[in-house]
Amino acid sequence: MLAALVLIWVGVDILSGGAFLTPRNLWNLSVQTASVMVMATGMVLVIVARHIDLSVGSVLGVVGMVMGVTQTEFLPRLMGYDSPFIWILALAAGVAVGAAIGLLHGVIIAYLGVPAFIVTLGGLLVWRGCAWWITSGRTVAPMDDAFRRMGGGVEGAIGSTWTWVVGVLAVAAIVLRALHARRRRQQVGFALRPVWAEVVVAGLACAGVLTVVLVANSYDLPPRVAERIAAARGLVVPPEGLSIAHGLAVPVLIAVGAGIVVTFLARRTRFGRYVFALGGNPEAAELSGVDTRRITVLVFVLMGVLCAVAAAISTARLNAATNAQGTLDELYVIAATVIGGTSLGGGLGTVAGAMLGALVMQSLQSGMVLMGLDTPLQNIVVGLVLVVAVWLDRLYRSRTLKGAA
């Protein structure tokens, strides 16, 4: 998976004459991927539980519209335009609506027994229609200033200092986790991996984090913006020009946060264990006393909440809530999840894989734009890559399984 990503990156970089692997392009790539990444983390659990959600793009659309109307029309009437609470209240309203939609889907699927494919296919149409209906098709803009930070851009990055703080914290977390896991296994007397292997694994992870930090910190703000910030802080602009780095983008941090939370849910909680058990063998889960219906509902509620988070990123980035927002996102999200190794048969999949899958899709797309390919050709390539990627994955998997048996 990582190898495929590196291959694409290097290949596209060569073909586009070195325009791809630049801090600027990589930074933009990370921002563009964030919204699909957030939804892909939830889609992993949906597909692992043997369901599907075709409505995520439309849910993003309707939730984005709700958040747009809340912050531009509803809340300002109550608290004025510059209230510092507007962004959080708008986000909360969106998350509530997203969760409610997920709850509705989940209940129909789990308790009324309508297949998820049908429920969410209906949802695809219903929620797109609702998004139009809220404002009769009018685009809502502009968004609240604080809200817009969630979308990235000049204001939506945390700067180099905080990027270093995040990077150092991440490295510390990786090291502490590795130490803790090792100590725990030692306590109960399990076999331990050799020390060098642990060091290599943790070292690679840390190197990855630091690379991301360095890339984010080497993409400077536009000179005008830098000057404005310098003026606001009372700094003197040196004659050779000022360089202030973007640092990590807020939407990227949100996406990584979503990835960590959903991974935690999947791997370390009963809920996650039951989702995988349900996907592996629904009958076994039921006979073991797992409330499979409740788990199904919770999976869809989580999906709805993540759609709301993705909607916040997407409307904030566009600085508007439009009717067409999120159109076709369901396909990108499902494709990212499947490319990331989640089996449509259920029971198998990782959140990190799906996030990488989203990055692969977006890399291809943005790479082809840099190479100047026509849109129809782009679609053809993305479609082919999806099919080939899943085929290769299947091939690889059947081989390793045979080896194990």
């Binding site: 009963r270 058990a277 592996g280 009958e283 076994a284 399984l401």
Partner: protein, 250 residues
């Protein structure tokens, strides 16, 4: 043995599916440390009957007493609370999860933070499996990578780990080779010595004749009769299974 209060007493159990009486007024007892072989053709109603005890089906009529107390069993969870564990013919394992996750499915061990304590679960699993199958080493692999006997061992480990008093085994050796069948047989005798009451369900008399203290035979949803294994021959039991008639027992 029959003088003591039975561990399980099922009386007048009946259940219908869409107008078909799958089980019709069937009664059966099980004592502590006793192995009862429940025999009958496919479709005789033996699995359906026993699923009313394991909580998978709700009886239309009948009464279940455990240690003389009338109990209501509405779900597998209820059954487990009464110490009833079931090993299904399909083993009911989640193939994509490892042995520990399957063993603790529905009853996971958790840390003080409320998160799954995988390390503790694996340690427990290693302890239980050492007792059942000392050669078992594939603790990290999903159970789909295990052999039939190893999968059976995981299913049995899951049943006995939680101090089952009543064990239901549906075709326990159907999918196993001779070596593995012998292992399971030894295990059943060991559990019996520990005072666990065991129902062995099978359509093949050879699977249960040497292990069971008593045989109970069902046909067409009705109980043909029960007999101590000592007092009957295999041919007599076969007659019960095929003809549905009780032989005269001395």
């Amino acid at each position: 043995m029959s003088a003591a209060l039975p561990l399980v007493a099922m009386r007048g159990m009946s259940i219908s599916f869409g107008g078909v009486r799958a089980v019709d007024d069937v009664s059966l007892d099980l004592h502590a440390g006793e192995v009862v072989g429940l025999l009958g053709h496919n479709g005789a109603g033996k699995s359906t009957f026993i699923k009313m005890l394991s909580g998978a089906y709700h009886p239309d009529a009948g009464e279940i007493r455990i240690d003389g107390q009338a109990v209501t069993i509405n779900s597998p969870r209820d059954a487990r609370r009464h110490g009833i564990e079931t090993i299904y013919q399909t083993l009911a394992l989640a193939d994509n999860l490892d042995a520990a996750a399957n063993l603790f499915l529905g009853r996971e061990l958790r840390t003080a933070w409320g998160t799954l304590d995988d390390v503790a679960m694996e340690a427990e699993t290693r302890r239980v499996m050492a007792r059942l199958n000392p050669h078992f080493v594939k603790f990290k692999e999903p159970v789909r990578a295990l052999s039939g006997g190893q999968r059976q061992a995981v299913a049995i480990a899951r049943a006995i780990h939680f101090n089952a008093r009543i064990l239901i085994m549906d075709e326990p050796t159907a999918a196993l080779g001779p070596q593995e069948t012998k292992q399971v047989a030894d295990l059943i005798l060991q559990l019996k010595r520990e005072g666990i009451g065991i129902f062995l369900i099978s359509h093949d008399i050879h699977d249960v004749f040497d292990l069971a203290d008593r045989v109970a035979v069902m046909k067409n949803g009705k109980m043909v009769g029960t007999a101590p294994t000592r007092a009957v021959t295999k041919d007599q039991v076969l007659e019960m299974i095929i003809l549905g008639t009780r032989p005269s027992i001395q």
